[in-house]
């Protein structure tokens, strides 16, 4: 048994363990921590395949940025312990959950069976690197030439997300326990407060 195989087994098991614990945890903050654990071990798996850049991006964007947002949202809604989520779901929605997750599982099986990586090329953190595969240069070469339009479209997508975030965050609603502060001076509440002064 090589060291590479050991690393693979450890990080694969950790990734699965983290994913399972994320679902089974009642405490949402603990869930997020397990998700980080899972993501970091997945990054190790990517790096074992030689995709250093993708592994690093997985950590920076997912583990380092998106999960911070998750944590902030959990704190914003102040979810210390989740209530029993399942209590108010109808039998139909329960069935739908099982169906969809079953379909996803089948899909995953097909992807694994028809896997692209069936060659006998030796991959792993500790084995020699294959040419230029997965390096920053090769990813960049593809991203900025062949996949130019998707890349530029990403910026439009990000722009939409920015606008969406701003609009959602400033929409006041009465049931919402979250205190929403007026961003704009044209806000009615703000104006009346100003007038009162």
């Amino acid at each position: 048994m090589t060291l590479d195989l050991v690393i693979f087994i450890i990080s694969a098991l950790t990734a699965i363990f983290g994913a399972l614990m994320m679902i089974f945890q009642r405490n949402p903050v603990a869930s997020v921590m397990y998700m980080i654990l899972s993501l970091v071990s997945q990054a190790v798996l990517y790096m074992q395949l030689g995709a250093l850049f993708i592994g690093a991006v997985l950590i920076i964007v997912y583990a380092g940025a998106i999960l911070v947002l998750f944590l902030f949202v959990i704190m914003m809604l102040n979810l210390r312990q989740t209530e029993d989520m399942d209590s108010d779901s109808t039998p139909i929605s329960k069935l739908a959950k099982f169906l969809v997750s079953g379909l996803l599982f089948l899909e995953m099986l097909f992807v694994v069976r028809g896997s692209y990586f069936q060659s006998s090329v030796e991959t792993g953190l500790l084995s020699p690197q294959i040419d230029d595969f997965g390096s920053v240069e090769s990813v960049a070469e593809l991203l900025f030439t062949t996949y130019l339009y998707p890349f530029e479209l990403t910026s439009i997508l990000l722009l939409t997300a920015i606008v969406g975030a701003v609009v959602i965050a400033r929409k006041p609603s009465n049931e919402d326990p979250v205190e929403i502060l007026p961003f704009d001076s044209d806000d009615d509440e703000f104006k009346s407060a100003k007038a009162a002064e």
């Binding site: 890349f151 910026s155 920015i162 929403i180 502060l181 001076s185």
Partner: protein, 118 residues
């Protein structure tokens, strides 16, 4: 690749072991006295007022979303910076377009005052 990743692996394991030892040291060595009031959260010596169950202002959520969006932009800039010489003028214009579109979003945020803290 062995000489690249084995040291990182070893450093990681060593760091975790040292962290565990250090945080364990006082738990085992430090003395312990039980006093009722000692376990209360610190509040300058008076009885604690209120609790930590207050929800957090929405501004923090806003900052986190903006962080993700611009972080993704930075991530795209890294590979571009590495091969910017090879891409030449074409690559430069490509990135200028990308950045300008995101700058529109940035100025929109400024205009709506989403970055104002009270």
């Amino acid at each position: 690749m062995f000489e690249v990743f084995f040291p990182i692996l070893f450093l990681f394991v060593l760091a975790v072991v040292i962290a565990l030892i250090m945080s364990g040291l006082s738990v085992f060595i430090g003395k312990r006295t039980k006093l009722g009031k000692k376990d209360e959260p610190y509040e300058c010596g008076v009885e604690p007022v209120g609790n930590t169950k207050e929800p957090v202002p929405v501004k923090f959520y806003m900052v986190a979303i903006l962080f993700i969006l611009f972080d993704i932009e930075v991530i795209f800039l890294f590979p571009w910076a590495v091969i910017s010489d090879r891409l030449g003028m074409f690559g430069f214009i490509e990135m200028v377009v990308f950045v300008v579109i995101l700058l529109v979003g940035y100025f929109y945020i400024l205009k709506r005052g989403a970055l104002e803290w009270d």
